[in-house]
Symmetry: C2
Subunit: 550 residues, 2 copies
């Protein structure tokens, strides 16, 4: 009898549209239009997709840079009950192909920059029956295999009168984790999940936020890509709040800086690498960036980078989440009492990944499944619950069971939690060395060892051990001419200092040490431990290289 109100993304759009119909949405220097026009385009997109036969559950792959079109697809594709498959164009083509096939995409919408990539994949994509091209530039060439162009599609569409009502548990998006171990894994989120994350994000950013919080006065520009974890859900937040939104296209630092200045951007989010690039650009030194709030996540925000950014007036703070969690779980909002702390102590907390946002439960458990002490030192795996965690890995029952073992989502991250409830990430679970029922945090050992004179870079991984399960193996790049000092004895003596200080357990001191020419790195500069494991698993490698055993 009563209206059955479902939690749908269209309701967020409705709010922004009615609150701020004339507010602007901007794409680079190409496009500038209002929420009203935006909504019309969403209705056109919905109508167009329906006319192409897309209905409930149809998967539509998208490869684009951050754009107003992506925002249209954030609403328009789930808006008709179809599923938006956000695709990271930066992963290896074979992995990208795997995800397209695994997701069973029916339509592929892609930016002209990816024409060669998509063209190379066509023979291997049996489920895709429409290729839709997005162009920023005037038509340079027509391509026989392209069925439609995005703007043409919208222009010729019979717009929907409104977005339909749907069950809130309708899947809205799917995406794939980068697959640092094994195949990429599909995670998916419903309209309800995205709506709830948006509301909670908004509360955390505004009522609980730093620097006066995010509010109706902010101008938003994403700097974590829209293909990655819904750009941390912030385009949905910005739309609900009716904020001016700026989409920068492909991330090019000069253009990003220009947009921040020209459009008076006040709120963004990014990984440390992007922030580093921005603050490292000489021209920013002459600019006023004091209105710019930036949440930094994805990997640890270092204190030195935070200080460097703060000196330019940029207001940084940390955040944490993962693809499996939609993604936001924590933000480093300072509690009222903390604001009286001195600047350095405040900064120490603001660069942490932070405190759980509303509705999130988080616990850190040790190797015995018990919660660790809240002292900021004892580490354990971070387990979470929230209304927006992926309910499974797409089409993978075994991994889904592991993900949700014991009714909590296993983040795969090893962290600590301090007396105020703020977490810190110390390692990935798979990189932890499990020895004698206890854990050794590889990153901590690496940090301790890196201060030893003569070591250029160091990685610690676990190797099988009959008695202990695993034992740590230290792999070092040495500075030229320092090889002689790198004896097991010297290194152990070095580590004994930490043991005496209570910072390292005696049993955690490694027995095995090896030098290698170069520690393999991932494309974002982290140690590639997967490659390291492959290396040492080669027949005879260990017996040949472990020369420093005691």
């Amino acid at each position: 009898m009563a209206y059955n109100y479902q939690l749908l993304l269209k309701h967020l759009l409705h709010q922004g549209l009615t609150w701020a119909p004339d507010q602007q949405i901007i794409y680079r220097d190409h496009v500038r239009f209002t929420y009203c026009s935006f909504y019309q385009r969403v209705l056109q997109l919905g109508g167009a997709l329906e006319s192409l036969g897309c209905g409930l559950g149809a998967k539509i792959g998208v490869i684009d840079w951050d754009s107003h079109r992506y925002l249209e697809m954030y609403f328009g594709i789930p808006g008709i009950g179809a599923i938006l498959h956000t695709i990271n164009p930066g992963i290896a083509p074979k992995d990208l192909l795997y995800t397209l096939v695994h997701a069973e995409d029916e339509i592929l919408i892609f930016h002209e920059d990816f024409i060669p990539l998509v063209e190379s994949l066509i023979p291997f994509l049996p489920t895709v029956h429409k290729y839709i091209l997005i162009r920023d530039n005037p038509v340079a060439q027509t391509l026989g295999w392209v069925n439609l162009e995005y703007e043409e599609l919208l222009a010729n569409a019979i717009p929907l009168k409104e977005l339909p009502d749907l069950d809130e548990n309708t899947i809205a998006t799917i995406s794939y984790t980068s697959g640092t171990t094994g195949k990429p894994k599909g995670v998916f989120f419903t309209q309800r999940q995205l709506t709830l994350q948006t509301l909670s994000d908004a509360v955390a950013l505004s009522a609980l936020g730093n620097y006066g919080g995010v509010s109706k006065h902010d101008v938003y520009m994403p700097l974590t890509p829209m293909y990655h974890g819904h750009a941390w859900g912030m385009p949905y937040v910005a739309t609900m709040l009716g904020l001016k939104q700026v989409y920068p296209g492909k991330y090019e630092i000069p253009r990003i800086i220009q947009l921040i200045i020209d459009e008076k951007v006040t709120f963004s989010h990014c990984v440390p690498t992007i922030l580093q690039k921005i603050v490292g650009t000489p021209l920013v030194r002459d600019l006023d960036l004091s209105q710019w709030k930036v949440i930094v996540g994805g990997s640890a925000l270092s204190k030195s980078l935070a200080i460097e950014a703060s000196r330019l007036g940029i207001k940084v703070y940390g955040g944490y989440g993962l693809s499996e969690t939609c993604p936001v779980l924590t933000i480093s909002n300072l509690k009222p009492g903390m604001e009286a702390w001195n600047d350095e102590k405040k900064l120490d907390w603001m660069i942490k990944p932070g405190f759980t946002i509303p509705l999130v439960y988080l616990k850190v458990i040790d190797s015995n499944g018990k919660e660790v002490a809240k002292n900021g030192r004892d580490a354990g795996e971070i387990l979470v619950r929230s209304p927006w965690c992926t309910q499974a890995y797409f089409k993978d029952v075994d991994l889904s069971e592991k993900l949700w073992d014991g009714d909590w989502l296993h983040t795969g991250d090893i962290g600590t939690i301090d007396e105020y409830g703020y977490i810190q990430i110390v390692d990935r679970f798979k990189d932890i060395i499990k020895t004698g029922g206890e854990w050794i945090v590889s990153l901590e050992l690496e940090k301790m060892l890196s201060s030893f004179t003569g070591i250029l870079d160091v990685a610690v991984i676990g190797i099988p051990d009959q008695k202990w399960g695993e034992r740590p193996l230290v792999l070092m790049e040495s500075r030229s001419g320092c090889m002689d000092d790198l004896t097991a004895e010297n290194l152990k003596t070095h580590l004994q200092k930490y043991v005496l200080d209570g910072k390292l357990a005696a049993w955690a001191v490694p027995d095995f040490y090896a030098c290698i020419n170069e520690i393999p790195k991932t494309n974002v500069g982290k140690h590639d431990k997967k490659a390291l494991r492959t290396l040492i698993n080669q027949d005879g490698w260990l017996s040949e290289h472990i020369k420093l055993t005691n």
Copy 2:
């Protein structure tokens, strides 16, 4: 396999508790304790109620002033799946009895101020099997019929380890509308509904809010009672945000003012009458109230009162909702562009009931069911949808069908909507005069007539008319000695000015006028049109009194 996360009130409590475990909750000058202790008491209450046999769906009536105990019951009663029945002690005892019997309350928890009231009802309450007394003062007397005292109940309880997981559609609260027409009507809300209202409220108050918004720095004190529409849901918001909370007990103006000053209260909500009493107290003139934000709703916030409050530094703005809607629907948040308006124009908008908060849909429809023009003049009935509207009137199918006629909740309020989307309430639907398929707003006619010299007070109601359905009847209290001027001809001439100005339709000018000694009023000073209708329906009353017909 995955954790089935339900939207439950305990999650809001969890957030406030973990964010601000040492934050204070204060009750008058009696009690001051922390969120930690508060949570313990909620667990004790849950344990105690379970030991009394309360389970899923058990209804527990509560009669108390605004207190920390009420807050405990806001969480603890729904927390075990029982239903909190919030009771307005101010309604007529016969209506109060009706609601207790209709709700089938099993337990009644009541403040010592209501001992005589409750004692008088006992013989008529077959379903109540436990009477639990709340005392503020040392035991004065023991009462044979009281089974338990509240503090004793908590002290002797085996606290729950935690609040259980429940289905989010479990009913959490029930309350009764005041029943200005017919019997009181029961409205009820689920845990999901209250949780969603809380999240949306928080976004509207903070990210979209006026005066920098409500934030983690605020100190909250309710001034609309907790028995009425969940005190506008704000205790849930305050708890989720971990705010310092101040509960004033029975509303006594000097104590309220003292608490605002002593506890540095920064955020409240009230009806105009309470605000009027506060600003009318001489001692406030010497106080600094410039940190105090107050949402005013329940009835129209007059410009003069808003100006008076503003002069004292109080930051007022409007809000709107009804018992049927949990209650909040709109808040008069200024849009960014409006903040550049001059002070008077800003005030004009801030005293409106305001703009829809996130997830709310609102439309104003005329007598033909069409949406009225957004011009701030054309009036119609306000219909709404939100995820927190009562799904029915409790045990009343017919009224529920009317409430949700056409899939929209009929608020029963007549309002206008302006070009910015801000509503204004102009009348109650039942007081509108429906004539020849069109509507006449009784309050508008009254306003026009009240400026006629000689009229002390005036009420307009509809009377049955064979040709037109209804026609307006004007009932006047005359100033002494002015009776002679109150002719139908003079009054019509007076109204013709409004017709010429386009402010009144020619057909809306009433034909029937009558003088009466005194227009009956409700206990909040409004015209009691129900009593007026009873009066004129007396045999022969109309033919005897309508002397001024043309």
